[in-house]
Symmetry: none
DNA sequence: AAGTGGTCTAGACCACGCT
DNA sequence: GCGTGGTCTAGACCACTTG
């Protein structure tokens, strides 16, 4: 077994949750332990994970309950593929277009481009279990895109990483909007539907912008979930550095 | 001892880290277990917490090391007032209603309420520079609300903090929607306008849920912004596409 | 009183980084 | 080979909710 048992159990429970209705009660931890032939502590750890990811809620003295919000999760630097697989669904992608274009002023500013620099524009329709979820437009400075070749069509981040430009941090803006006609058609939602838009600018470890992404999600199938903590206050004594 | 031992140990190790220099190696888990007179699993859980909070780094086969350099979690736990002030605007609030109500099943789950427990519901219209931008509905378990009195009307978070229930962490869900008729009227936007909805559940330092908030923002006047970093795991693993 | 999750124990074995 | 963290066991007791 290369993958830890608690992760295997978490996956099995996660898919199990997919077949249950919202608010359904899961078997008690001891029963789960017996069912999956593991010790209570191991099952507990799997449930800890699922709770952290918003898949279940646990109420002391009551039980453990299913909680499918919509999709989502994103507190760290996550990709669409990670987000979807983490919810037990199968991600898919259809490339709609690849072009060299003159960037808009907003793209140019976000990527710190020179005045004459072009960008590679990659437009993709994203799926979860064969249903369209997201229309994404990505931009990469042309000087990086050349080194990418066709690997960009497979996985943009992996392609960038292979040429020494692994994303290390990102800025993220989230806002709501109404679908455009084109978005409505591609996403298969009626006109007037709301969308959740996430604009990210990725930076490598040296702080250079390497990619911008404008992702438009169906609001009825996607939400973000994250856990935040109060500012970390303590290095109480000194921070001379 | 009402507070769990692993939390006590985490606090002691945390303060211990404050007196050590960056990168200093902590004693092995077994030594820590002996020093704090706890079992290995309990110490492990304390270290899990500290690692998640960025206080220490653990490297398999090497050891556990102090890491008080970084901080700046993605988006910290902020209140509406802090948020608006930080954007250079002047916050304002109008209380629309205060009631004791039977919670919906969703509120009940999020706050881990007993089946018969009531909640204090506080509905507020929030302003930035005298313009309405957010309609917020907050819920507090009745057993806490009693100790609050009228201080809740001034500042909910400050009131909770004054009775020893300072928010320490929160879960945050963000999704998009279309205004209801009532929201449109209160926020002063036309029907069919998009909204950015943020549902937060606040927890005290012991992880007990103390408040839930459902905030509905005008999409034309509000977006979230955050900076995220790659997970601090090991350098070169995992995909980000 | 019964059932649930929350905590805790006192060990075990493994994979890994080192020398 | 040694020490480290990572996983896992098979129980135990407690606090809590519910009938």
């Amino acid at each position: 077994m290369t993958t830890p048992k608690y992760l295997q159990i978490a996956e099995r429970i996660r898919t199990e949750c997919g077949t249950l209705h919202e608010g359904a009660q899961l078997p008690a931890e001891q029963e789960l332990a017996a069912a999956y032939r593991a010790s209570p502590m191991t099952v507990r750890r799997a449930l800890d994970l699922l709770q952290e990811q918003g898949v279940v809620t646990r109420i002391p003295g009551r039980g453990t309950f299913v909680r499918h919000g919509i999709i989502s999760k994103s507190s760290a630097l996550t990709s669409f593929t990670e987000d979807i697989t983490m919810r037990g669904m199968t991600p898919g992608t259809r490339v709609l277009g690849v072009d060299e274009v003159t960037p808009t002023s907003e793209v140019s500013r976000d990527l710190s481009l020179g005045r004459t620099e072009l960008v590679l524009q990659l437009e993709r329709l994203r799926f979860a279990d064969d249903e369209p979820i997201c229309l994404e437009v990505a931009h990469v400075p042309q000087r990086y895109a050349k080194a990418l070749g066709d690997s960009a069509l497979v996985s943009l981040h992996r392609g960038l990483a292979s040429i020494g430009l692994a994303p290390d941090s990102a800025t993220r803006r989230v806002h709501a909007a109404i679908v455009t006609d084109r978005q409505a058609t591609l996403l298969g939602v009626p006109p007037g539907s709301p969308t959740l838009n996430i604009i990210q600018v990725f930076f490598d470890e040296r702080g250079r912008p390497i990619q911008r992404s404008n992702a438009c999600f169906r609001a009825d199938r996607y939400e973000t979930y994250s856990r935040v903590r109060r500012a970390e206050n303590h290095p109480p004594t000194e921070e001379t550095e």
